[in-house]
């Protein structure tokens, strides 16, 4: 394992752990952003330049800001309440079990062992990506266009304030 991969992997996983354990929500969002940048650098290490820069453009440039805006609009950054639910050990146990299963499957797989250790970095010409998008993958392209439109309209409609006529029932949960 090269040094670059070790550093990037450590950064990504460390930032992800920080994102899930910190108390202040804005710090969590910023650590999640660092983790996303670390992932983009890992994609660069794999030789997929296009995917790496799209990851930065979409995730860091849009999704991270969305998360941060949501934290601000729901005032979650102000009063750090109890951070874990009562299922702490159950949740951790399940996650550990999932990781254990995956690691066992990866380590014990004969198909993975059969793959060549070193292959040349495959070229990723953007023209080929474009050709495939309108060639082989034209149906997913159209579907994702519909999906993005629907998601955008849906997000606007859901997050819009209701019309002046209907007062909002701001009931506090009696529990």
């Amino acid at each position: 394992m090269t040094l670059a991969f070790a550093i990037l992997a450590g950064l990504t996983v460390g930032a992800a752990i920080a994102a899930m354990t910190l108390r202040n929500l804005v710090h969590c969002s910023l650590c999640a952003t660092v983790s996303l940048v670390g992932l983009a650098l890992l994609y660069l290490n794999l030789g997929a330049e296009f995917a790496a820069f799209v990851q930065i453009l979409v995730y860091v440039g849009a999704v991270a800001i969305l998360i941060v805006f949501a934290v601000l609009l729901t005032r979650s950054g102000e009063a750090p309440a109890g951070r874990v639910s009562y299922g702490l050990w159950t949740g951790l146990g399940v996650a550990l079990a999932v990781f254990g299963t995956l690691a066992w499957a990866i380590g014990g797989s004969s198909a993975l062992k059969a793959l060549p250790k070193d292959s040349a970095v495959p070229a990723l010409p953007v023209k080929d990506v474009g050709d495939k998008l309108v060639g082989d993958f034209v149906l997913p392209l159209q579907v994702i266009a519909l999906l993005l439109t629907a998601a955008m309209l849906g997000a606007i409609v859901i997050a819009m304030r209701e019309a002046k006529g209907n007062p909002q029932p701001a009931t506090r949960n009696p529990q």
Partner: protein, 399 residues
Amino acid sequence: MASLDQIFVTLKAWVLGLLPETVQPFAGVMISISAIMAVFPGIFALTTVVERKLLGRFQNRPGPNRVGIPLTKIRLAGFGQFIADGIKSLTKEDVVPRNADKVVHFIAPFVLVVPSFLALSVLPVGRNMAALNFTETGLLFFFAIGAATEISVFMAGWSSRNKYSLLGAMRGIAQMLSYEIPLILSSLTVVMMVGSLSLVTIVEKQTAVQWGVFHNWHVFTPWGFAGFLLFLTAACAEANRTPFDLPEAESELIAGYFTEYSGFKFALFFLGEYLGMFAISGVAITLFLGGWSAPFTFLDWVPSWLWFFGKLVGFILFFIWLRGTLPRLKVDQLMNLAWKFMLPMCLINLVVAGVWHYTADWNDLIRWPLGAALLALPYWIFSRRFESRFQTRTYRYAS
């Protein structure tokens, strides 16, 4: 004069030749980095002085005219002001509010400056002189790095625990996000016509000669001209320059999202903003104005890097001119401009670029007016035809 054109390339190759083999890649990288870090902050320093003097002249006052060489009486018409400003910002006390989030407050300027320097590294400043040449994804790298600077705006605004900073940061992020779409769409026409995302290839395509004397800059085509104007407007908004400087409106929000910064961190924010302006002007030059190529073939003897920096200086002066002349846009006018005017115009620009491509064998005297008409009609519809919807101003005077 090819040797003068390639003088920096040969200089770097000579220095690298003096070093042992193993150190050479690392040393090459360090030389490119030092060149970028020497040149662009130097331009930034001069820009601050030139901006203050030009704004002074626009406002009928002299601007700074006392500091020439410090500690002497030589005035140099005030062009040494940047030395005084630099010393001031380095020695000022660094005030951090007591309630501020210290770690985020400290990191925010660096999160702005580092992507700005990264964005400057992909610009082809001369023939064979791009520090970082991604052959597949150069322009995408630039936009990705530009998107990453928005996080720093939020970090600065939120960590100061100041409602004016937060408001400025929210406005700033909304503005930058909204104007990224016209920015990317207007550069998409260039990518479509050139067929590559690499900035070096885009410049080389524009060095083709047309009519024996012109170099084939993209701005000399109807889609290129409209794309250039759209890109310029979106670039002005991305760089938070007047008329789009609502996030840092001095008369409203004190200094917007960097109100609570003083001393060196404020200088870093200032540097990061101006470097962002240079980077985006550099990309506008690369995409539309032919990068390092001359406009006419008989001017090809001037070195390529001189052309690039000359055009960059022209852009800087143009932005300063805009700042001195135009009033600031309100936030709803800003958003309306981005979403209801520039986005449809960018999409129509894509169509016009397609029309231009498929009529490549027509006479240019027919193609140009056709393209211009195809763009002018939607422009008139979007800007003038809807004017009846806008409220006419009624003035009430005291009687």
